[in-house]
Symmetry: C2
Subunit: 157 residues, 2 copies
DNA sequence: GTCTTAAACGTTATATCATAACATACGATA
DNA sequence: TATCGTATGTTATGATATAACGTTTAAGAC
C-alpha cells in the first residue's frame, strides 16, 4: 500500500503556503481545499470528483471554480495532471521543479510519481538532436503493480 | 518542414492492408479513410476534425463511427493518441511495435515521433525498481522547435 | 447458393471534461 | 476610503467521448 504518514498533508500544505508567500501569490481557501483533497486521495481523481466532494461539504461551486483552482495548483507545480486519464494528483516531491514520471497500474490505478532525472536527460538529448528544445514533458507509464500482476496471472495463466 | 514523400501515404496504407490480412482483420473503408486522413495531415488532429472532413466528403457519420475507427487503428498500432491534446496522429514507424515518443512544438504544433528505445529501457528499469511491470508508455515532450524558438526570442529577448 | 454468425456500422441519446463571458466580492495599498 | 487588480460566483455552452441498441455486411459452414 501507499505509505502516507499523517504529517504528509500538513507538510505539503505548509510548503504550499510558504511557496505562495515567496511568490506573492495567494493560497485561497478553495485552492487550499482542493490541494488538501488531492493529497488525501490515494489515487488520481477527476475534476468532477473534487467538485462533488466540495458540494457534499456544503460549498456549491460550479466547474470553473474547481478548474481555476486546479490550473493555479498546476502552474505552481503543486499538482500534476495525468492526461491519459483526465485526472489530477498531488505532487509528492516538494521543493524541486521536476519532470513528473508516473507509473500507473492499469488494474488498480495505484500511482507512483518518480522524479525521473535520467529520463529528463535522455529526453533533452533526443530533443536537441531533432532541433527541439525541451520545455516540459509528461511521462505516463501504463503498468501492472506486483499484486495485480500476480492476480492476473492467477486468473489467466 | 516535415518531409512527406508522395509515396508515404501509399506505403503506409499498403502496410496497414498487409498487417490486417496477416492478423485476419479488416481495414474497412471507414478505417482506411481515417488512416488516410491522419497520414495526410501534417499535425495531430482531433476526432471531431476528422468527423467534419468526412461530413464534407458526403458521408454522414456520427461520432461513434470515427471513434471506433480510431480505436481500431490505435489497437493495431497504426496511429497514436496524444493525450495532452486529445489529438490523433498516424504512426510513421512501420513494422516495429514501439513506444511512441513525441516532440511537440507548443507554438506551431509541429510534431515529431521518435522510436525512443533508450527511453523505454530507462522506463522499464525505473518500473522494475518500483515493482511495476511496464506495459506501455506515453511520452509527450512539450518543446519549441528551432524556428519557433528564434521567433519567440525575437519577440521578447 | 443460402444459412448462420460475428463483426462492423448507423443512429439516438447522453455522459464526461472543460471553458467563455460577465457580474460580484475581496484584498492590498496608495 | 478609494482604487485596482485578482479571485470567485454564475450561467451557459463548447468539446470530447461512449452507452445502448438496431441494422447491415462479410466470411465460412453446409
Amino acid at each position: 500500500m501507499d505509505k502516507q504518514p499523517s504529517n504528509t498533508l500538513s507538510r505539503i500544505l505548509a510548503y504550499a503556503e510558504q511557496e505562495c508567500q515567496a511568490r506573492s501569490l495567494r493560497l485561497t481557501p478553495v485552492r487550499r481545499r482542493v490541494l488538501e483533497m488531492l493529497v488525501k486521495h490515494k489515487h488520481p481523481v477527476s475534476a468532477y470528483q473534487l467538485l462533488d466532494e466540495l458540494v457534499e461539504e456544503g460549498h456549491k461551486p460550479a466547474p470553473p471554480t474547481v478548474y481555476r483552482a486546479l490550473d493555479f495548483l498546476l502552474e505552481q507545480g503543486f499538482i500534476h495532471r495525468l492526461a491519459t486519464q483526465n485526472n489530477y494528483v498531488a505532487c509528492m516531491h516538494l521543493g524541486a521543479r521536476h519532470m513528473g514520471v508516473f507509473l500507473v497500474c492499469k488494474r488498480c490505478k495505484k500511482t507512483v510519481e518518480l522524479l525521473g532525472e535520467n529520463v529528463r536527460d535522455t529526453l533533452t538529448e533526443l530533443a536537441d538532436k531533432n532541433q527541439f528544445s525541451l520545455e516540459e514533458a509528461l511521462v505516463e507509464v501504463n503498468c501492472l503493480c506486483l499484486p495485480c500482476r500476480r492476480q492476473s496471472e492467477r486468473e489467466q495463466p
